[in-house]
Symmetry: D2
Amino acid sequence: MSSTATTQVTEILNYFGGTWHKSAATEFVNVSNPATAEVIARTPISSKADVDAAVQSAAEAFPAWRRTPAGERIQYLFKLKVLLEDHIDELARIITLENGKTFAEAKAELRRGIENVEVACGIPVMMQGYNLEDITPGVDELLIRQPLGVVAAIAPFNFPAMIPFWFLPYAIACGNTFVLKPSERVPLSMRRAYELLEQTGLPKGVINIVNGGKEAVDALCDHPTVRAISFVGSTPVAKHVYQRSAAAGKRMQCQGGAKNHVIVLPDADMDLARQIIADSAFGCAGQRCLAVSVAVTIGEAQNGAKPVVDGRSTKIAGHENGNFIKPTILDGVPASSSLANTEIFGPVLSLIHANTIDEAIDFIRKSPYGNQASLFTTSGAAARKFRYEAPAGNIGINIGVAAPMAYFPFNGWKESFFGILHAQGKDAVEFFTESKIVIERWSRQETRKF
Amino acid sequence: MSSTATTQVTEILNYFGGTWHKSAATEFVNVSNPATAEVIARTPISSKADVDAAVQSAAEAFPAWRRTPAGERIQYLFKLKVLLEDHIDELARIITLENGKTFAEAKAELRRGIENVEVACGIPVMMQGYNLEDITPGVDELLIRQPLGVVAAIAPFNFPAMIPFWFLPYAIACGNTFVLKPSERVPLSMRRAYELLEQTGLPKGVINIVNGGKEAVDALCDHPTVRAISFVGSTPVAKHVYQRSAAAGKRMQCQGGAKNHVIVLPDADMDLARQIIADSAFGCAGQRCLAVSVAVTIGEAQNGAKPVVDGRSTKIAGHENGNFIKPTILDGVPASSSLANTEIFGPVLSLIHANTIDEAIDFIRKSPYGNQASLFTTSGAAARKFRYEAPAGNIGINIGVAAPMAYFPFNGWKESFFGILHAQGKDAVEFFTESKIVIERWSRQETRKF
Amino acid sequence: MSSTATTQVTEILNYFGGTWHKSAATEFVNVSNPATAEVIARTPISSKADVDAAVQSAAEAFPAWRRTPAGERIQYLFKLKVLLEDHIDELARIITLENGKTFAEAKAELRRGIENVEVACGIPVMMQGYNLEDITPGVDELLIRQPLGVVAAIAPFNFPAMIPFWFLPYAIACGNTFVLKPSERVPLSMRRAYELLEQTGLPKGVINIVNGGKEAVDALCDHPTVRAISFVGSTPVAKHVYQRSAAAGKRMQCQGGAKNHVIVLPDADMDLARQIIADSAFGCAGQRCLAVSVAVTIGEAQNGAKPVVDGRSTKIAGHENGNFIKPTILDGVPASSSLANTEIFGPVLSLIHANTIDEAIDFIRKSPYGNQASLFTTSGAAARKFRYEAPAGNIGINIGVAAPMAYFPFNGWKESFFGILHAQGKDAVEFFTESKIVIERWSRQETRKF
Amino acid sequence: MSSTATTQVTEILNYFGGTWHKSAATEFVNVSNPATAEVIARTPISSKADVDAAVQSAAEAFPAWRRTPAGERIQYLFKLKVLLEDHIDELARIITLENGKTFAEAKAELRRGIENVEVACGIPVMMQGYNLEDITPGVDELLIRQPLGVVAAIAPFNFPAMIPFWFLPYAIACGNTFVLKPSERVPLSMRRAYELLEQTGLPKGVINIVNGGKEAVDALCDHPTVRAISFVGSTPVAKHVYQRSAAAGKRMQCQGGAKNHVIVLPDADMDLARQIIADSAFGCAGQRCLAVSVAVTIGEAQNGAKPVVDGRSTKIAGHENGNFIKPTILDGVPASSSLANTEIFGPVLSLIHANTIDEAIDFIRKSPYGNQASLFTTSGAAARKFRYEAPAGNIGINIGVAAPMAYFPFNGWKESFFGILHAQGKDAVEFFTESKIVIERWSRQETRKF
């Protein structure tokens, strides 16, 4: 058995210049199946030189890719959409294998990723600039959008496939070339996705992967050729990447952690609230940045909304070595405790009580994070007040996981996001292009002094 | 005489809570009339505590200002537009007094400032969010734009009034409250502008001024209450502010220096080119970030385009102590010399020769800056090539100073700008608001699993 | 007395070529003060020749006005905004005099008009076209917006000043020249407004007035030089104008009549509902196209919501000849009766009862009109259902008069509106411009076969 | 032979309710292969009752289709894109068979059609409405876009597949249900396209076909259930449809004929101009509404640009009965002659001479049509003047067929288009949706009088 396991360990490679390359790394990280603790792959901790090679590949591909019309660039995405649909089960199984989420959760993650491919197919509309005739007689002004050049994304372990697709489709559709650093803990999903991307016939160097850890991250932040950094991970690393990339003069968008509150008013539909909150808190093992982790009940709402502990055991027969944890509900947590304010990133739900909606919103206000805030209510007035006042980027009304569709930005406020323009949708297009102003005068006679 | 001069020195005050306050500063900077070298005012080097007071004032004003409808907030700007028009001569004289540019240049600067007030009057249109019904049956999603809170701008000496107006009108029209740190060298123009702003009846604390130098800048960058930093100045300070604000988790837009090239093709209208280039290089004493400072002639264009030195003497009768410098043209400057690549910020024009337009564009490509690039030509093909390839944020075709109108962003690329969203227009509105996603489900029956 | 009255009758003139002209009309309509029945003015029933003269004036002014930059054109609107604010009381008194609405209602009407002037000041942003580089290599495409030429608006009597301002500011800001045919019953308000417009220094011929009735309307619809017709009035005339202008190949937007329903759910705030519905039904004498005229109560809502008849007498002391009518509430009106389906345009409110919200929405569905539908409720679910299903252009939730702000279109569905693009906001800008596609190729080598 | 031919004649059916139906028509039109004059199919001249059946089918499908989220509706278009790509050769052969254009031209036509399917995949972005908080304190306003219901398109014979795809993808992506009346002369292409549409699994009734002639057209214009008419054909019929649909209160967009001018300046690249103009004038047998049919040479440009007659004979061996016509160039045509002003819709190019570009633009100005105008030049100034002044909806600079990409509207001015919003892109989305304003107040206390 053990020898078999050894031979099954996949050696993770970097991808640049249109082929897979062995990293020069001497250090590796094991990738384990969380359900069995078996090692299934090992990720090289790539060096700055590996990063250089990937960036160089992207830089070389840029001039020709940039001159490829947007309408042609999206043809690769239309093909990708079909390939991802055709391989969704296979990809979902890989996600489950390396990340541990359920097959259904993995497929749902992929749907979100595919959705971003779909939206990026609209680049010929979304990338348009704007213009005005006669800003002074005979002089016209236009704003055109052009790609940046080489851009890079650094992804986390909790959504191995979805989060790279928050960036990749827009980046390349806009004419940039792209370097991905996946999480060293879940490199297999995007490895397979890149194989599908290759099948689309995408020119060499347009997409690249460098595997690794902190050294690769820092090398990307520092690299003078990399124009933009997209990051998703924990808040301390998000802050680090934000500052370090700023020191290199880049543009960046860094998504951090969360501690999401749900407020349940006494007038809520309690059956609905209980079911949705449980799904939100315990689905994906609580490892969603939009998972609810603090439920605030107002007045009498408590007894109605209290989620039922489902009693799953930590030991799963046949998976005795797996990293399982059962859903945990902690009642009577003080609002000011660290438990109520620190990200746990597991299936743990704290219950807090408040007397009024204002008091509950104040909990959210005091939280360092601002990723999501949800309200369960039947009242239009309460919903309006909440969406107006709750300081979080994604607001759910009777929604457990207020995940924006791909045609809206995936928001985040406060310590949950550093930057201005978010992942997905119109924000992504702005992030991955730079605008150029052109002012043209063609006729001497027509023009007044400008 | 000297005693008179002493009594005429204006003591510059900070402005917060709706009134003028003496800084606790013990250090001051003299403000001189560049035409006479006379000291006309002294600016306090405000401390972190002074910054705190101004930010506190802004923070207190925010909740009520934010709840004031956009349509009411712009009423103050409509009034301001009238007041600025009515006082344009007076303001222009103040600009001339403290900055030294001509009265005509000062009025032109004010027109650009007023233009931004005009555009910000359109906030009820520009600040709109977007939405879609039925992202899944019965569930709607909308993006709403809300103000950030307290925002701050740090302005340079070369456009004492215009540059604060790149930010102030949009910031407050969007519902933010605003702290300005003017250049310590030219505090008088905005001091008067704020008096006019007071006349509009703007609520106390919506606009504030803190005078000072590096300590005030750093305090604004670090201040946890300040949500956004807009900066215009030299590239080294722009970089510093960009990184330091990033360390504090803020959003920022930092405009730096420039070294702008103009390329003159042999087919250009040489009379037009000569006149416009001279205006661009020597107007405002060459202290515009869009001033042309390197002219690249292609082939035979040189003899035709060479600007005429106008021979103004450095000593102006009656202003023997003034800081005058005559226009200087340096011919035969090597493209790789520091002279051709370093910002001079004076009326100095270097001439370089190139054999082809590609070679000339390559000069621009190698420049660390990317604020503006201009081409003089009659050829549509050359213009298209130039606007497609020249790596600068503001492109002029037969234009000397390609200054974007207020309804377009004031761009900048490379070391001329750090950030994503620029000053002016739609960019300003995005910069000064944060988007909030709202996902709403109201009916249990209509909704599939989400 | 009679001789005095005779001397006070104002002779209404047409306005074109920048001056007031006597119509060649031989037929006139008397303008009466509704509060006294006194004749205060007489309106000429202008002929086709009068229309020709006004259109000719507009046509002559067009080429120069079109070449005036948008940023300059809006300067007249900024001046107009100030003038309208300064003369709002005077204008309100004129509206009251000729239309009969209260002074407060007249001022509110003017505020709505001024709001449109404000929004049209944003034309340099709103009129921008869009563009994309490299639709095929080396070929760019852009869409530019250009004014149409001469456009005309035909206004009703119920809002003598507001409705012309739904069109005039956008039309001229976009670079068109404009002909207004006011209601022959209320010509005085816009007569005074045009005097203020003259004070802005607007070039001759940019704005014009032709007074009259059907002949003038038809002449405008038929005139080959008039490019667009904006109409507000009754549905039969709206239909006539829509079809007749279509026969002449024009673009048009025709707002017709209404029969607006308000639904009151049992969970509504009844005090609020009662007060707001009464204001809506009886304010402006019920002569608003957004006035509520049918109140549908569901279940037990009736007793709570039933508006109180205020008992104002038809005879007002000192105004015995005035056209006063007291508010009338008709209870138990069958949903299928003509009373419940015909526009009355007076302070009359019919009460209907329904068992469910579905039944109530069905009343709206069966109505030929679709201007406004309102719901009073505290339920978020009911509001969502209503806004999703109710077939009307303007939906109010706990709102009596759901009048869109000027930065949104003033909608209307079904027989309440014929056309696509509405008055106000972005729609107005699209309506008053035509887009021009430009596809440019400058280089032979770069281009593939297109 | 004749009996064989008889059996090969395809009986054209209508399509509604998700299946093909025989029309009750007693009258038929023969469809011939233009290359052989053989009858290949016969089209029923459907009656008003046939139209009713198709509209009824669409009306029944609407409620469920409208409630299908946009993100799901576009899944059918993604599938259609793949199917069209896979069957492009087969479809091109059908187009060639019934229309007579070459296989290459037919494939190019299909590419344009597919491009519209691609753009319509972006509906979740393109269909978004907009919104603003606090139009008065506590009151929000939003504009949502909803589908119209049943819409219809009437297509011409010259692009059997492309023109239906100007409308169909947007119409159904926006949630409408759709009735197509193809040209009775070329019913086979869309018949096959609908078979592919069926394979996507589109619900029954979402798309429908009614074949026929004038009676079907009029029935669609008159039908109270049909909300919008899209028409492409000759100008007289476009006018008829525009007026008749207006009489029924609909919204409409009617594309008519053309007479497109190309101006060749002496500075043009003559080789390029000659080649491109010949392609434009004679490609697709001159039966493109964007075909150049009048070439205006300025000064000395004539000798350089004069297209070469390619000498193809009218009799093609083996196709002696085919409707072939050889390219014809008519030199020295007077600008005022009917030849220079009437649409010929065949491979005929008239040559006119002008002394100046102004004179040439004046020819365009006097033309009743305004579909396209092209300029060949190397001068940026001439191009700017032309795009600013030439009164046509689609302007080409060194372009022979200035066909807008699908992400821009297909424009047309003057007698070439009746309506406001054009086919393709953003215009199509606005055309196929109606906006609904929602104004919401939820809290009594927060709200001032509105």
